[in-house]
């Protein structure tokens, strides 16, 4: 019923409604398949002829209409037109075109995806009651009202049975069916896995089997397969180059690490071990060799017949770039110091470091600061005081402090306080001496 309502156009056979794409094909088809209906053929021919005439006439008229004013203009203003004209207004239809194209592509992609999802489900089906399961997944069109094959218009009978497309459920005859083998279906559904596993999966036993699908679905699925294949197919040179680049980025991180280790080691730091650096260097060396061989392989790849020169240049420049890279980065790696040298470096560093620290200590940023609880003698016992002379007062105070410090086992403080007491005594003696001097002086003055 779905087919009956649709509007079709093209070079359709009036009897079987098959689209034959060109008038010649339609005529030959009609003569071959429906020769008994010759009168209809005549009418078709007539109709076709009329249509042809009509179209041609229209075109002629169009030409006439267009050519007249142009010629007038040309004859009238010829002088003005011989000079180059500035280009007139133009309009780009690319966006419009793209919008339509995108819509169509989207539609097609969506449809194809739908088919592939169905195909995936169909592939997962188990052997038993397959037909029912297939019908459960894809609704089959009811065949009772379809008397002819929609694609070739041949009537169905005992010999020409109705068949259903497993992907869209539409009806067609055996001749119009396309068979999609299971292994190909697998490769469409899971292209990546299938590269290596296809042969193993094929051993399941169903690989000889195939799906019956309509030509429409077949073309969509096949188109997808082609795109996938194109994407999967990489020329050997790009595969090798990808491998090469991968190794290079790998090696670069190792080289960076090695340089860091080298700097640290030659500075006498003990962050890294010499042995580790040696291992790393060996690994870098091995990778460098691999890179070298790959680039050689690329350079000696057999060339295609097409665009030989370009490919040859590409291959050679890859080879050259790689050897330069090896020369610049990998052969210039500084040699590691020997164990003895390293020990000497470390010794030198510890010496220099401590010296530097002595000198630059003022500039060192201080990060950790702790203030502990201090000590002080209690000053409560100063009631025994005021002898008049502050020096004597202070000496008493300090003596008291010394006693307290001794009691608290603060012997450093005792040392400092005793030193102070000594100074006080000295000062006191000095002051006494000056007093005596003053007294004697005043006496002398009195006497005189």
């Amino acid at each position: 019923m779905a087919e009956a309502n649709t509007f079709r156009e093209g070079f359709l056979c009036p009897v079987c409604h098959k689209d034959l794409r060109s008038p010649q094909k339609l005529i030959t088809h009609f003569q071959d398949s429906h020769s008994e209906e010759q009168d209809i053929l005549k009418s078709i021919k007539e109709f076709y002829g009329k249509a042809k005439k009509k179209i041609l006439k229209l075109e002629e008229q169009d030409l006439d209409i267009r050519s007249e004013p142009i010629q007038e203009k040309l004859t009238l203003d010829y002088d003005e037109f011989w000079k180059p004209q500035p280009s007139g207004s133009s309009r780009s239809h690319i966006d419009f075109f793209r919008a339509i194209r995108r819509r169509r592509l989207d539609h097609q992609t969506a449809e194809t995806n739908k088919l592939i999802i169905r195909l995936d489900r169909l592939l997962r089906l188990d052997g038993t009651a397959r037909k029912q399961q297939e019908q459960f997944l894809v609704a089959w069109i009811d065949g009772t009202t379809v008397s002819r094959c929609p694609s070739c218009a041949s009537s169905f009978n005992i010999a020409r049975r109705q068949h259903h497309c497993r992907l869209c459920g539409s009806i067609m005859c055996n001749d119009c069916s396309v068979f999609l083998p299971f292994d190909r279906a697998h490769s469409i559904v899971a292209p990546v896995q299938n590269l290596g596993i296809s042969s193993k999966e094929g051993l399941k036993g169903r690989n000889n089997d195939s799906f019956r699908i309509c030509s429409h679905c077949a073309s969509m699925v096949e188109h997808r397969r082609m795109i996938q294949a194109e994407q999967m197919m990489q020329p050997i040179i790009s595969q090798l180059y990808a491998h090469l680049q991968n190794l290079k980025s790998n090696i670069q991180s190792e080289v960076d690490l090695y340089e860091k280790m080298y700097r640290s080691l030659t500075d006498g730091e003990s962050t890294f071990k010499l042995q580790d650096a040696q291992t790393l260097k060996a690994s870098i060396g091995a990778k460098a060799e691999t890179i070298d061989t790959i680039s050689k392989k690329i350079a000696s790849l057999p060339e295609d017949e097409s665009s030989v020169i370009k490919i040859e240049a590409l291959q050679n420049s890859i080879r050259r770039a790689t050897s330069n890279y090896i020369k610049d980065y990998l052969l210039t790696l500084p040699p590691l110091p020997s164990v003895q040298e390293l020990a000497a470096i470390k010794r030198y560093r510890s010496l220099r470091y401590s010296e530097e620290e002595e000198q630059n200590s003022d500039k060192i940023e201080i990060k950790r600061v702790t203030v502990t609880t201090g000590w002080s003698p209690s000053s409560l016992e100063k009631s025994v005081q005021s002898e008049g002379d502050p020096l004597i007062d202070q000496m008493n105070i300090v003596r008291n402090y010394i006693a307290q410090a001794k009691e608290a086992q603060r012997f450093e403080e005792v040392v400092s306080l005793e030193e102070n007491l000594r100074l006080l005594k000295e000062a006191y003696r000095q002051s006494q001496l000056t007093k005596i001097d003053e007294k004697s002086e005043s006496k002398l003055q009195k006497n005189s």
């Binding site: 002595e358 950790r368 203030v371 000053s379 502050p390 202070q394 105070i397």
Partner: protein
């Protein structure tokens, strides 16, 4: 450099430096010298701090990274009667804190004369800090911060406004001094001139006096 030989003997170079410094507090009476030092040493504050007689002695240890700085603090009395004692204490000191009261302009003037005296009489290498105490009474302020800062800048002093009551900048001013002190010169003149004494090392580097400040 005498201290190089000392350094070379220690392979790890950095551990366990102990420096001892003598620090003296000077300033007019009742500006808060004792309160300041009590806050620093014991973390205490007494609203009615008795006036100091002579000079009080306190010690406090500060760790800066792996250097231990021990302060021997002489808190001198501000009363005029004891001024004759002050030179005994600042002469042997490596650091001095001159304290004034921000609510009293006269104490600032007195602080200036202390600074002058220190510059003339004390060790030329002495680290002087100016402390504007009683910052908690800033609403009764008589000495502007900028004024004191300018003065400190002109004379190369460390300057902070402190409050022993709220502990504002108390530890900071001592730490600033500790950082500024030359911790790695162990030359300690027998006369007590100028330098810190490294207790851990003994006094082996004592032969090059005058090698202190750079």
């Amino acid at each position: 450099m005498a201290n190089r030989s000392g350094a070379a003997q220690r392979p790890n170079g950095t551990q366990g430096k102990i420096c001892q410094f003598k620090l003296v507090l000077l300033g007019e009476s009742a500006v808060g010298k004792s309160s300041l030092v009590l806050r620093f040493v014991k973390g205490q504050f007494h609203e009615y701090q008795e006036s100091t007689i002579g000079a009080a002695f306190l010690t406090q240890t500060v760790c800066l990274d792996d250097t231990t700085v021990k302060f021997e603090i002489w808190d001198t009395a501000g009363q005029e009667r004891y001024h004759s004692l002050a030179p005994m204490y600042y002469r042997g000191a490596q650091a001095a804190i001159v304290v004034y009261d921000i609510t009293n302009q006269d104490t600032f003037g007195r602080a200036k004369t202390w600074v002058k005296e220190l510059q003339r009489q004390a060790s030329p290498t002495i680290v002087i800090a100016l402390a504007g105490n009683k910052q908690d009474l800033a609403n009764k302020r008589m000495v502007e911060f900028e004024e004191a800062q300018t003065y400190a800048d002109e004379n190369g002093l460390l300057f902070m406004e402190t409050s022993a009551k709220t502990a504002l900048n108390v530890n900071d001013i001592f730490l600033a001094i500790a950082k500024k002190l030359p911790k790695y010169d162990q030359n300690q003149g027998q006369s007590g001139q100028g330098q810190g004494r490294r207790l851990a090392e003994g006094d082996q580097g004592a032969k090059t006096p005058g090698n202190c400040c750079k």
